[in-house]
Symmetry: C2
């Protein structure tokens, strides 16, 4: 380990300067004025990957922003690792809330402050530097490919077509993604699951136009009240979703995994204070971490109807709307759930109002097996660097590209992230501790050394 | 009757030309750019009332737009009638939906098209012309006062203070208001009741800020769903409001009055078609007319929470809001109901969310006794002119000034209106049939002739 630490320490200034070169390019995928910056950032990645030791690197077109592909094939009969990252970043507005300019990286109190410092320039660049070490020190025991895309922050809409088109080029036996967080700086964890998603819009109509609430109130159904009746019926008093067959496909989580979850430190008082709630609330029989990690949920993301301005307007609304979303767990299928929920809502809508349920978006859940060889190698790598065995954590969120790789390439990505929840990703003053940048590189190197996987593809 | 008809017919062109002079002044109380028009319209009313035969007429200041007062005292020992009307009109936007300019009155197919043609220039001017007839033909048997205000369409906020200040001047034994409608052109009716109103805003809070619906969904209460639970609990399956003691003070309506209500023609199919609903819906055991006339109601006038824009945003909202209104019947008191509803909502809100209930506005219900001498005189007057006995109808709406007069002056206004539901008041192409203008004048004259009231004040 000392060799690794020495290498990282003696090259740290250069590593950071290279990372800052990437950060200074405002590669904001959502803003068309930065289109030239996108290509510039992709080209810069290509330069850095070539310098790190790949055999070839290319900037490839997609239907949107270009993607960077690079590879070092030391022996085609050896297994291949594919590293996925993204060079695009979120917009930096509102600029006035930043303490230093978002695209002029600055180190304060041991942290790099800049848009992309963590997400995902900082995290993905650790892979380039770990790879550089393995190449230079002649310790690379497998083939390595890099795919650095430019549209993650805008939904990776063109990535599936790209992966299908370049399926042979992307063939691999293991995929590594560093775009997640660990529990605390001194409490490593590995994200072993992501929830899926289904999202609907509901429109309830009563009359053709808004009515006078005096002349019609009491004689004509109120769609806002009827919508409330529907929403209130979807979850029971015990926090269980009432839609028939909703839980049919939910994977039973073993007691062993629930025991591991129970080991994750969780301070209810701190949690309540942090988000400003009176109390936690959810499905009976599950802890907060289980409720977001291994159990599905159903939420209204928005509701609206009638008059929402200042003061009073006495109106009986014609229509009422809701945006509804479910977070799904293995093995729930978003399309099937979409159908079940739409049918159930239609079935409980009374005949005196009209209902429309539109399925807007779906994403699949994801789980990485903790009894796999790669997971165990990652466990050992984190333990070596952090001094603690990492805890497996199922995140409540969804990362669309992760199930996408499983679907198109047939390989489950392993999520070895090094972010902290204090990194303010997507927010002003995004930052990344230099310590995490160093430990990340060291852990990735340790992982490659621990790894003994079979060639599958 | 023939003398009256002859008088109206032979003076009709002048009556209409005078009304058009009032209509051509855009006295829109809500728009400050029309402030000079307000004074101009009040002064014009003063001129017309003096010409009609009052002893004195004045334009008096209020804290808002001025009011017109006029009177003819033929003998202080005789009873006094106070006529209330308003010279202000609603805004005319959207102008492009008018077939002729709103402030250039035009007669088409026997109807006067203009803003204010019915509400309330047309209806209140009938009183001036009926009074003119009685004075000129020396048939006036009582004292008459006129109060024509300029703020009815913006809530008459300064009228109570004005009435208190001028209580002696406004002293009277009967108040007449023509600002309501009859059932059909050939089916006269008298509005014998108005509902009261209570209006609240509810704010439900869960977290301090909007949360990520993936990372927190299932573990933190959703205020939009909790609001739905609350709203859905306020009315039961039989359409009854569930708030304890809500119905305690509701006046029991006699079977005799319910029998009269049952005589009001009502075509469910036409009603459904007119407002575009699948079906009627309301409290069990009551007809549609009873549901809006003699029963209280509770409605959400608006609800909002979270993301309400296009497409999907996966957010767990921090707050959810509702605008809630109740229509009240005699003898419910708006302040007491406001309290009951707020307390009940607080009591059913679960401890893991915070709730705020603000009472925004209240108005009292109103009922005019159908066994009174003035009501019987009005019945006979309508029957003479329309050939049919008018039906007593309780309107579901609220007119704030009506209970106000009862409260401050101790006199219940009699609502003898002549509008039709096709008059499009407050809407583009407001109109008033010349036939109703004529019949209104004739009915008011007949009413004065039929009237035998005692001097009370």
């Amino acid at each position: 380990m000392d060799t690794v630490r020495n290498y990282v320490q003696s090259n740290l200034d250069r590593f950071l300067e290279e990372l800052f070169v990437l950060i200074r390019i405002p590669s904001i995928s959502a803003q068309s004025k930065h289109q030239a910056d996108m290509l510039r950032c992709a080209e810069q990645w290509k330069v850095f990957l070539l310098a790190a030791g790949v055999d070839r690197a290319e900037v490839l077109p997609t239907k949107g922003h270009p993607a960077v592909f690079a590879e070092k094939i030391i022996d085609p009969s050896l297994p291949t690792v594919l590293v996925y990252g993204h060079y695009d970043v979120m917009p930096a507005e509102p600029f006035e809330l930043w303490d230093s300019p978002p695209f002029e990286p600055e180190i304060r109190d041991g942290k790099i402050y800049a848009r992309g410092a963590d997400d995902d320039k900082g995290q993905s660049f650790m892979h380039a530097k770990a790879f550089e070490y393995l190449v230079r020190e002649k310790q690379l025991k497998c083939n390595v490919k890099f795919l650095i895309e430019g549209e993650e922050e805008i939904g990776s809409a063109n990535l599936e077509a790209f992966c299908v088109e370049h399926k042979d080029m992307l063939r691999c036996d293991l995929i590594l993604v560093s775009d997640t967080s660990i529990l605390e700086a001194d409490l490593p964890s590995i994200t072993t699951g992501l929830r899926g998603l289904a999202y609907w819009q509901i429109e309830l109509s009563s009359s053709a136009i808004d009515l006078h609430s005096g002349l019609f109130g009491g004689a004509v159904a109120n769609p806002a009240v009827e919508l409330s009746r529907i929403l209130s019926q979807l979850i029971d008093d015990k926090g269980r979703i009432t839609i028939p067959h909703f839980y049919d496909d939910v994977e039973a989580v073993s007691q062993a995994e629930r025991d591991l979850i129970a080991q994750i430190p969780f301070d209810v008082a701190a949690y309540k204070k942090e988000i400003g709630i009176n109390d936690i609330h959810g499905e009976e029989g599950y802890s907060t971490i289980e409720r977001t990690g291994i159990r599905p949920s159903l939420d209204a993301c928005g509701i609206w109807s009638g008059y929402t301005g200042e003061g009073t307007k006495t109106v009986l609304p014609a229509k009422a709307y809701a945006k509804l979303s479910a977070r799904l767990v293995p093995n729930q299928q978003s399309e099937k759930i979409a159908q079940l929920v739409a049918e159930h809502i239609r079935s409980i809508t009374p005949p005196y109002v009209k209902v429309k349920v539109d399925f807007l978006h779906g994403a699949e859940s994801y789980v990485y097996p903790i009894d796999s060889e790669a997971y165990r190698a990652a466990e050992r790598a984190y333990e070596k660097v952090f001094g603690k065995r990492p805890l497996p954590v199922r995140s409540g969120g969804s990362i669309g590209v992760v199930p996408l790789f499983e679907k198109v390439l047939g390989v489950k990505p392993l999520l070895i992230g090094f972010g902290l929840k204090t990194d303010a990703i997507h927010s002003p003053n995004e930052n990344y501790p230099v310590e995490m940048f160093i430990k990340g590189i060291e852990t990735i190197i340790a992982f490659y050394k621990e790894l003994t996987i079979d060639k599958k593809n």
